[in-house]
Symmetry: C2
């Protein structure tokens, strides 16, 4: 029932369950059992139940979890709410890929401003564009608490410092660099090369990272 204290590994799996519920919703199904989910995702049914239980999802014996209700619950827990407004820092291919990602909008997040630290980069033809040094002021004024860091590696330090100074609460760091953020700010790191490296290590270790 209480949304506080959800383990991080669980937090990482929840988006997958939500996606699965959404898929079932569009195909008109009303119930989805933990065992079916487990089969499709490749991990244990008990784990699925524990994960869903951690955010208060309630299933029905013999049928499973109600698709509509549960996907609403997950969506409310994972998505928008009070921190849906998000800053984008960066305008390169990576930033463009994020902006093109339809999943972000579906989760209720909105990219409300775009910043670019590199003065040499050309400004995007986007109404949301702002110079980087406006970030702290805007964060304060709009109450924005999330930022996506998608700049070229060599601008990562400067951008991170600006974000930290602005009192942002959480950063999705896509730069693949080893940045330091002050404690108290939540950081989730994702990087293509780090993911590939971990994958290669797992393949070499002859076991999947999620089995």
């Amino acid at each position: 029932m209480e949304p506080v204290g959800v383990p991080l590994p669980t937090l990482r799996r929840l988006p997958l369950y939500l996606r699965l519920f959404e898929q079932k919703a569009t195909s008109g199904e009303l119930w989805l059992s933990s065992e079916a989910m487990a089969r499709e995702l490749g991990f244990g049914a008990i784990q699925v139940r524990k994960d869903l239980g951690a955010v208060g999802a309630l299933g029905s014996p013999k049928r499973g979890f109600p698709v509509g209700e549960t996907s609403l619950l997950l969506g409310r827990f994972l998505g928008a709410d009070d921190c849906s407004e998000t800053f984008m820092v960066g305008t390169g291919p990576l930033a463009r890929a994020v902006l093109a990602d339809e999943g972000i909008g579906r989760r209720g997040f909105r990219i409300v401003a775009i910043f670019e630290p590199d003065p040499g980069a050309q400004h995007p033809e986007d109404r949301r564009y702002q110079p980087l040094d406006k970030l702290p002021e805007l964060a304060l004024r709009m109450g924005t608490r999330l930022a996506i860091l998608a700049v070229e590696p060599r601008w990562a330090g400067e951008a991170a410092a600006t974000i930290a100074r602005a009192g942002i609460g959480g950063v999705l760091d896509l730069t693949g660099t080893a940045l330091s953020f002050p404690p108290g700010i939540a950081v989730v790191r994702e990087s293509f090369s780090a993911g590939l490296s971990a994958l290669a290590g797992a393949v070499r270790s002859k076991r999947g990272p999620e089995d």
Copy 2:
């Protein structure tokens, strides 16, 4: 000493250490202590030592870890070696962002072929382009074991099936969908929206996912 049996959480942190060693290498420093690394990354020094120890890195009392040697060791463990050749599936903005990522090449991975399942999409002006149904044959002939899945969500299922059929050993799944792969194939999932969702959950829970 033995590269087998490295815990997945460790595997996920190793790329950050490597990045840090590379940064120190370019600034000419010869030694790097676990405590300095811990401070910069925001986690415990003992953990850094255990992680490095897991891949056989050897430090020197009073000085720390030798920058050159350790970064070579980490690079060898995380990077290329026998499975450096990688397939890209997808040609959209996400795929382009991956292709533009300089970190991937630096780790020794090479994107050797690019596939697109959508017949409506225009083929990229890239010599590496191949139709999707050539994937299994090429995988067999080239011995490729890694694939990056970066297609539009609605093509994810078909692409995943082709990859599975081809005997690929590991997939970096960037689609954000809930795909099922046969057991025995390693899967690392990364998704902007899933990362954002996990971040929002962590911020709401008032604690960072890595503290």
